[in-house]
């Protein structure tokens, strides 16, 4: 038997005696190739994604990088995706979105804070997307923002980043603020912190 170049379908050649077994083998290979094609189509239709929110206020201590603990699951289709085959969010570890499979993700974090008083001229709010609990480079990405020094109340800032994750790696959205007041300040519960991930590529394609 020989094999075709792409999908390795067996077929009989001149040194074979063409038999029912040869035809059976070729048919079986075609069958498997069709199953593989269907699997790819299913995966194509269900790239995995997740969105979580922090609906209740969370107290953030001044000058302390704090992981947001998410209490509301908006979407998690990891278990529906043949590529992921597992959930991203687990309420038992509510700060984490954990990769159910090796993948490249686009991550978006939106941090809402409710400042009890203005931060002053050296005040900042930082939204950090962190890999596997990192607190410094290279496992952190994000944005640092300087609100108007005299303004209190609701403030928001967003960050986008891309990550190559191994299965079991997790990302967190972390908040940091500093300034003149002693704090602590709460996260905003009107437009609350939100964290989203979407698979955008696979390290290897089946």
């Amino acid at each position: 038997m020989r094999k075709t170049p792409n999908l390795r379908l067996r077929y009989p050649w001149t040194d074979d005696v063409v038999s029912a077994a040869d035809v059976d083998a070729m048919a079986a290979d075609i069958d498997q190739a069709l199953v593989q094609t269907q699997s790819l189509a299913d995966s194509f239709a269900r790239f995995s994604s997740v969105t979580v929110q922090r609906a209740a206020v969370q107290s953030i201590t001044k000058a302390t990088l704090t992981a947001i603990s998410f209490d509301t699951l908006i979407l998690d289709n990891g278990t529906d995706s043949p590529l992921a085959n597992g959930a991203w969010y687990n309420a038992a570890a509510p700060t984490r979105l954990t990769a159910p499979a090796a993948c490249v993700v686009l991550a978006h974090g939106m941090l809402g804070m409710n400042l009890g008083s203005a931060l002053g001229v050296n005040g900042i709010i930082q939204a950090t997307i962190a890999l596997n609990g990192a607190t410094g480079q290279p496992g952190v990405q994000g944005t640092k923002w300087n609100p108007i020094s005299t303004v209190s109340g609701q403030q928001w800032t967003s960050a986008v980043s891309m990550w190559n994750l191994a299965k079991g790696d997790f990302l967190e959205l972390k908040a940091y603020w500093t300034g003149t007041p002693a704090g602590p300040f709460n996260t905003d519960n009107v437009i609350p912190p939100t964290f989203s991930l979407m698979m955008v590529a696979l390290p290897t394609v089946p």
Binding site: R2, T4, P5, N6, L7, L9, R10, Y11, P12, W13, T14, D16, V18, D22, V23, M26, I30, A33, L34, Q36, T37, L40, A41, S43, F44, L83, V104, L106, V121, N122, G123, I124, Q126, A127, T128, G136, Q137, P138, V140, Q141, G142, T143, K144, W145, N146, S158, A159, V160, S161, M162, W163, N164, T178, V200, A201, L202, P203, V205
Partner: protein, 198 residues
Amino acid sequence: MSGTTPVEGYPYPLPADFADVQDAFRLATAVDADLRAEQAPFRSFLARPSFIARQTVNGSGFISGTDTLAVGAIDWDNTGGLTIGTTNWNQPANQQPSWWMFGATILVAVVSGTPVVGDVNMGRINVTTTDQVAGTSSTTSFYQRNDETNTGGEWINLFAMAPIYQGSVNAALLLNGSTQKTTQAGSRFWGMYMGPVN
């Protein structure tokens, strides 16, 4: 003499020439080629062209001017467009005109002196593309300005969507101030293919 299937036109042996291995060969290779072609868009989507570059050492300090992120490590790249030691991602030459999304986190390190609140810190993504007809290249710049807060280094997060053809992209820090700062190790820039322009 072979028969052919009514829809796809696959050849198959008839009872009169069942032992002709050429028919089996033709059938197997025809099915193989067709299925591979049908799988192509799925494989292409799952292996979406994308890259993540990371700077691994701090840049040189400067007060006013521009410092472009250097590719010190490749966290991810299935395009072949990143080279360690360079500053640009180069679009695959055989890719059609395409929409891409690019982004960066530029970490700003203090080199000397006490940073002055309000000094200008800006991130910039430059996207250079080629005109398909004229062959000329042009550059579009995307900015994010996060001025100095003197709180232990700035973080500038910026992103852009742009059409690009036979082009290149880089990310840079722009300063206009009074103390020395630079791009910090751990800064990243990344991109992912969104789809064809047409």
